[in-house]
């Protein structure tokens, strides 16, 4: 018997058994996702995490198992469908059914959801632990990008720079609340963090001193528009930052459409040579060229190709986050274009890998063997609990995308988290808290998605941003196809 196949010679009893089996299928919460991409048939078993590459016959049979057809029906239908193929015999179909049954017995196909009781377990276990901060060292910016979610770096408030004292207190707050965690993360963010570069350097020096005293390991990230990069910044970033995120939208005309200074002048000509110099000096250390695509360029693959032509090979391209009525907002008409671009991007990656010119794309970097544990997959990014944003004056918010919205003010770095209601709301965010995720095959890859995107789309941090879900599922299909293609290449 495979997934939900039933056996019975009496037609009335058979119908009853079939109904019961279908009911059980729903109750047991089994889930698979089948799709064809890149010339391959791929089956994802949601609750075991197993990924199978199958031939046409197995692909069809697994689909029939899912829809609760009997073994006899399956054999008969397959013999008819593949009558033109001499290799598809009754014995072969039976053998394929046996292979499926073997995988089911091993818990690698039609596995049952046994994780719902774990929902919230990780956050409960780590109650009060903070391990990552997004430090808003500058609520000001030297660019005036039209699509900026942070309202040109000011977050709907006044311009401000974080003082060393506030930043120092934030780092102490992180150490004090990190309990047994060794790895602590700090992202220098803005606005434009290099407008407060002196404080950034002082804070890193302070953290390096404290990490030795406390047995911690600080990992720093810098997110910059590049305008203020010079030799001093390059030397410092390549020594101290475990990752740098460099904002570049790709083609000059696309980048300069939105990323302009206060006189309206595009920034592409200024930042590209600086990024090239930084990346060349960076060696093997991690970086991302991080672009934003909007309604103006749903054909973002051309921007990826521009990045490659400039010598960059670690890339990330993100859909714009903006208001409902903003002209930059991606539309329903853009969706099929963007999805096709994701598929073409995957094909380009494979082509260049074969040519010995590989590049990485952030969302396609999945590891099927050493990926995140089930607790992490259920609980998500940790915003509002283990991850918080700190404003220049020391206020705490669940993450950078909530900064400036007073409803989400958690507390401050001196008194800690005061607003328990908001903290508890975020602590209870997990993939099982979102009813819309119940039947989504990708839920253990996205863990319920971004709370900020959900809030801006639905008014609830436990809602879902459907457009983002559609894009995420397409990205996962492409990322898993890439892994399958690489495995196939390894077999050749």
């Amino acid at each position: 018997m495979c997934g939900v196949v039933v056996f019975c010679s009496n037609p009335i009893k058979f119908a009853r058994l079939l109904w019961l089996r279908k009911k059980k299928f729903k109750q047991e919460k089994l889930m698979i996702h089948r799709y064809k991409l890149g010339g391959m048939n791929i089956v994802i078993d949601v609750y075991s995490g197993s990924v199978h590459v199958v031939d046409d016959l197995a692909y069809d049979i697994i689909g029939m198992c899912e829809s609760a057809q009997s073994r006899e029906e399956i054999v008969s239908e397959m013999i008819n469908k593949y009558s033109y193929r001499s290799d598809v015999t009754k014995e072969e179909v039976q053998d394929c059914l046996n292979q499926i049954e073997e995988l089911r017995q091993e818990g690698r196909l039609f596995a049952v959801d046994t994780f719902s009781d774990m929902a919230g377990e990780l956050k409960k276990r780590n109650d009060g632990v903070v391990k990552a901060l997004c430090l808003h060292v500058a609520h000001t910016c030297n660019l005036n990008c039209a699509y900026c979610f942070a309202s040109q770096g000011k977050y709907h408030g006044e311009r401000a720079l974080m003082s060393f004292e506030v930043g120092k207190r934030a780092l102490d707050f992180l150490i004090e609340n990190s309990k047994g965690r060794k790895n602590l993360e700090v992202d220098f963010f803005g606005g434009e963090p290099l407008m407060n570069f002196g404080t950034v350097k002082e804070l890193v020096m302070y953290a390096r001193k404290r990490e030795k005293e406390c047995g911690k390991n600080f990992r720093f990230t810098l997110t910059t528009n590049g305008m203020l990069i010079d030799d001093d910044v390059i030397d410092f970033a390549n020594r101290e930052m475990s990752n740098v995120v460099l904002s570049l939208d790709g083609r000059k005309e696309i980048h300069d459409r939105y990323r302009v200074d206060y006189s309206g002048k595009g920034s592409w000509d200024t930042v590209v040579p600086k990024f090239q110099k930084l990346v060349k000096a960076r060696g093997e250390k991690n970086y991302y060229i991080r672009g934003t695509f909007t309604h103006a360029n749903p054909d973002f693959l051309k921007d990826i190709e521009t990045m490659l032509s400039l010598g960059f090979d670690r890339l990330s391209m993100e859909p714009v986050v903006c208001g409902e009525n903003d002209p930059e907002r991606l539309t329903n008409e853009d969706l099929p274009i963007v999805c096709e671009q994701y598929e073409k991007l995957a094909a380009l990656m494979l082509k260049r890998e074969k040519e010995g010119r590989p590049f990485t794309f952030y969302h396609y970097m999945i590891d099927l063997r050493e990926g995140p544990c089930i607790y992490k997959r259920i609980s998500g990014c940790g915003s509002g609990s283990e991850y918080m944003a700190v404003t220049p004056w020391g206020d705490l918010y669940p993450c950078h995308q909530f900064v400036g919205d007073e409803r989400f003010l958690l507390g401050n770095v001196w008194d800690g988290v005061i607003n328990k209601e908001v903290r508890d709301e975020f602590a209870s965010c997990n993939v099982y808290a979102r009813p819309e995720c119940a039947n989504c095959w990708a839920k253990l890859y996205c863990s319920g998605g971004c709370a900020a995107n959900a809030y801006h789309a639905t008014g609830s941090v436990k809602g879902i941003y459907k457009y983002g879900c559609d894009l995420f599922r397409k990205r996962m299909e492409c990322a898993i196809m890439l892994e399958a293609a690489r495995a196939a290449d390894g077999d050749e």
Partner: protein
């Protein structure tokens, strides 16, 4: 003939035993597990 190739041997439930240490980077699909006991 073999019609199904499985790409990954570990199952998600295996990570329930030693997972949840919280040492991995705050992003979840493309996260790396940093728990040496588990990996």
């Amino acid at each position: 003939m073999k019609r199904i190739k499985t790409l990954n041997t570990k199952k998600l439930c295996d990570s329930a035993k030693k997972g949840g240490c919280g040492e991995c980077q705050t992003s979840v699909a493309n996260q790396k597990c940093e728990n040496k006991e588990q990996t």
